[in-house]
């Protein structure tokens, strides 16, 4: 057990250490600052005060424990009865009990009470309306992308359009509709398959690819992370967030992980000048699902 004398000496030392550290902190700061030293010196300042205080509390103050009685928490039944009475609202019937004093300070007619509650509720409802200004009605933006405007070239983030010759087998390029290279939901992956990889297009999408080049939405249908990883050997797209895996040869159908829907596909073509274009919007709304998304898997 530490003697009070010893504890006091150590506590004084702790406080002195704190003073030195504080001075050191000021010097470090004045000379330009340095994060590690700032942290250590601040820590020593705070720690010195803390240690001194704990030593003080443990060894230099009257020791021993005391007992405090726990009184019953509940009030007396007398108090409770009076409280309920004083709080009660006593409806007064029209024409009844005239002249007789009613208990309680609040007297009200039933109809009045009802109208009052109605008014407060109406105010509450009315006050909610400004919340509507926080954002637009959710609408077409969730189901359409810029590609819906019509035939558009696909471009990289710096605006350069793509030719078929720019893509070697196994390459994956992120593209956007021309004119909107920053649009968050129209990012798409342009993938060139190997010659031996057999694309099995979905019904109605037989002409959506061009010479082994397909395009799918880059937004994962799970929770919207960009599907950034491609395993060329097996033509699998992997989303790094939660490892949803999509089979490029089978309409980007999910084959592993939590995603439940295929990546929407972009219909491709080549224009007169040889640049790759999108003929229209994706096959279904891009990105994660929502209540009234409507279409199929």
């Amino acid at each position: 057990m530490t003697s009070p004398r010893r504890a006091e000496q150590v506590a004084v030392l702790c406080f002195l250490l704190a003073i030195l550290a504080a001075v050191g902190l000021a010097v470090v700061y004045w000379r330009g600052g340095q994060p590690q030293w700032e942290g250590v010196l601040l820590s020593l300042t705070l720690g010195g005060i803390g240690s001194g205080a704990v030593l003080w509390g443990k060894h230099l103050l009257p020791p021993g424990e005391v007992s405090e009685e726990r009184k019953p928490l509940a009030s007396s039944s007398e108090d409770r009865k009076k409280f309920v009475e004083e709080l009660a609202v006593t409806p007064v019937q029209v024409g009844e009990q005239a002249g007789q004093p009613q208990p309680g300070p609040l007297r009200a007619r039933r109809g009045l009470l009802l109208a009052a509650s109605g008014a407060i509720t109406a105010l509450g409802a009315a006050l909610l309306f400004p919340i509507r200004s926080l954002g637009p009605r959710p609408g077409g933006g969730l189901t359409r992308t810029r590609y819906a405007d019509g035939v558009r070239r696909v471009v990289q983030q710096d605006g350069t359009p793509m030719r078929l010759a720019d893509l070697e087998a196994d390459s994956v390029v992120t593209v956007w509709p021309e004119g909107h290279p920053d649009d968050a939901d129209s990012a798409a992956l342009l993938i060139r398959l190997r010659d031996e990889q057999d694309l099995q297009p979905r019904e109605g999408r037989e002409d959506w690819s061009v010479e082994g080049v397909v395009a799918y939405s880059k937004l994962c249908t799970h929770v919207g992370c960009p599907v950034g990883l491609y395993q060329a050997e097996s033509a699998l797209l992997l989303c790094p967030c939660h490892q949803s895996t999509f089979d490029v040869l089978d309409g980007a159908r999910p084959v592993f992980g939590p995603a439940a829907r295929s990546l929407p596909q972009l219909p491709l073509d080549v224009d007169d000048e040889g640049y790759i274009v999108a003929r229209g919007d994706f096959s279904s709304p891009v990105g994660p699902g929502f209540w009234d998304r409507g279409t199929e898997a």
């Binding site: 700061y29 600052g33 994060p35 590690q36 700032e38 942290g39 250590v40 601040l42 820590s43 300042t45 705070l46 720690g47 803390g50 240690s51 001194g52 205080a53 704990v54 509390g57 103050l61 009257p62 424990e65 005391v66 007992s67 405090e68 009685e69 726990r70 928490l73 919340i131 926080l134 954002g135 637009p136 959710p138 933006g141 969730l142 983030q157 992120t174 968050a184 939901d185 880059k218 799970h222 929770v223 919207g224 992370c225 960009p226 950034g228 790094p240 967030c241 939660h242 490892q243 949803s244 992980g257 939590p258 439940a260 699902g289 929502f290 209540w291 009234d292 998304r293 409507g294 898997a297």
Partner: protein, 453 residues
């Protein structure tokens, strides 16, 4: 004497001397595990202090600017003003990095200490009557701490936290009927929108801290009013509380604890790098890096998102997308159960009496086993949040790791619960302690449904 003169001056105007005497004489038991809540409280205090400092430098704007600070690799890069200001705090405000890192570490410690404190209260039965209200206040504080932490690291608008925000948006979007409206109003449109940083900022520095402050006051007020629980021992009964008085011993030691907590946070903030945002770069919704994980207290949700099999509900042109189940339903059930626990336990045990003696976990084998099983479940989810890192570190197949975690999520909790139950009964028998309510797990469903007389 000066103290007496000041006290008299104040009492002439406030008449607070007798109240002050009662307050200062309040007794606090001295078990070490009763300090966990204080660690949470003091980390919150550090959060507020460092947070105030940061508000003088952070700019909550999504407007695009080109980096013009002193960090070379990002020179000229386009980024939001918010991210730019966070980089300025890191590199161009003297002591800014320590403040930011201290703030971030304090948030991690805040959530961790709340969890441990909540565990202490749970495993000692200190949530029982009359403390049910305080338990619910505490659960709310936990929820708010998590939300505020998420908001805080998301407003920096770096690539990593932006990915997390995207995930949060998509999870909210998945809520049936109202999801699209909720996200549109919250974000001011589709993701990413230009309003979310500003709004999260207001939530983070004003709305949530004020609510936390009010709830903390209630939490501590209830504690003072109902007095703290204490473990049984010589001289300790249900009718008293044994410990040290608030003044001077408890106040001095508690003040010491505050400074020690702050000292640890300062050491962490200065010497342990956390959230190196300059390495992540500004947020770009078309990019993501592998091995993206959220802060630890969100890990269980992240793991749940990964482990959930790819089930969706689709009918009549409407759907409940997959992320709804792990992202909304699971936390809803989790917090629902947490809130309801005191009432559920009292319903099952039929125990409606007041309790001021804290129990040792081994005295309540069923409750302790259920608690450990629950913790195991969330631990599996938490670890699953890093399954890609685990797979890469140990050169395992990601698919195999995922399947293992999926199986563990179902198998590990009951196993852990059974082991815990045995441990508790053996330990209690060895110590000669009585073991609680004698309700077996098999009886729980019936008692829940029909109540217990």
């Amino acid at each position: 004497m000066l103290t007496r003169r000041i006290a008299e001056w104040l009492d002439d105007r406030l008449g607070a001397a007798s109240f002050a005497r009662t307050a200062l004489a309040k007794v606090f038991p001295t078990n070490w595990s009763f300090l966990l809540g204080e660690i949470a409280l003091y980390s919150f205090l550090v959060l507020v202090l460092t947070g105030i400092y940061l508000t003088f430098f952070y700019v909550p704007s999504a407007e695009e600017v080109h980096y013009a600070g002193s960090y070379g690799p990002l020179q000229g890069v386009e980024m939001s003003q918010a991210y730019h200001s966070a980089l300025d705090i890191t590199f161009d405000v003297r002591a800014g990095l320590v403040m930011r890192q201290m703030h971030h570490w304090a948030a991690l410690v805040f959530c961790a200490s709340i969890l441990v404190h909540m565990g202490r209260v749970f495993f000692t039965g200190a949530f029982r009557r009359p403390r049910e209200i305080n338990w619910m206040v505490g659960v709310t504080l936990f929820l708010l701490a998590i939300l505020n932490g998420f908001a805080g690291y998301s407003i920096v608008d770096d690539q990593l936290s932006g990915t997390g925000l995207r995930i949060g948006y998509s999870v909210a979007l998945s809520i049936p009927v109202v999801g699209t409206w909720l996200t549109s109003l919250l974000f001011g449109g589709e993701f990413p929108g230009s309003d979310i940083l500003q709004r999260l900022y207001v939530l983070h520095i004003l709305l949530v801290p004020v609510v936390i402050g009010v709830l903390l006051t209630i939490h501590l007020g209830l504690l003072v009013r109902q007095k703290h629980t204490h473990f049984s021992g010589p001289g300790r009964t249900e009718g008293n509380v044994v410990g040290v008085k608030l003044w001077p011993v408890f106040a001095v030691k508690s003040t010491g604890l505050f400074f020690l907590v702050a000292a640890v946070l300062a050491l962490l903030g200065g010497t342990f790098q956390i959230n190196p945002i300059w390495l992540y770069g500004p947020f770009d919704p078309s990019q993501v890096s592998a091995a993206s994980q959220p802060d630890w207290y969100m890990g269980w949700l992240e793991g749940a998102l990964r482990l959930m099999p790819s089930w969706e509900v689709r009918a009549f042109g409407y759907e409940i997308p997959n992320p709804f189940f792990p992202g909304v339903l699971l936390p809803g059930l989790t917090f629902g159960l947490l809130y309801a626990w005191p009432l559920l336990e009292s319903r099952v045990t039929g125990d409606r009496g007041e309790h001021h003696l804290a129990e040792r976990p081994r005295q309540r084998p069923v409750r302790t086993a259920l608690g450990v099983a629950a913790l195991t479940f969330y631990l599996v989810l938490f670890l699953a949040g890093g399954e890609d890192v685990i797979a890469e570190s140990f050169s395992l197949s990601v698919n195999a790791v995922l399947r293992t975690f999926q199986v563990s999520a179902v198998v590990a909790p009951p196993v852990a619960g059974l082991i815990t139950y045995r441990l508790c009964t053996e330990l209690a028998a060895r110590d000669g302690l009585s073991t609680g309510s004698k309700v077996t797990v098999r009886e729980i469903p019936r008692r829940l449904l029909r109540g217990t007389p």
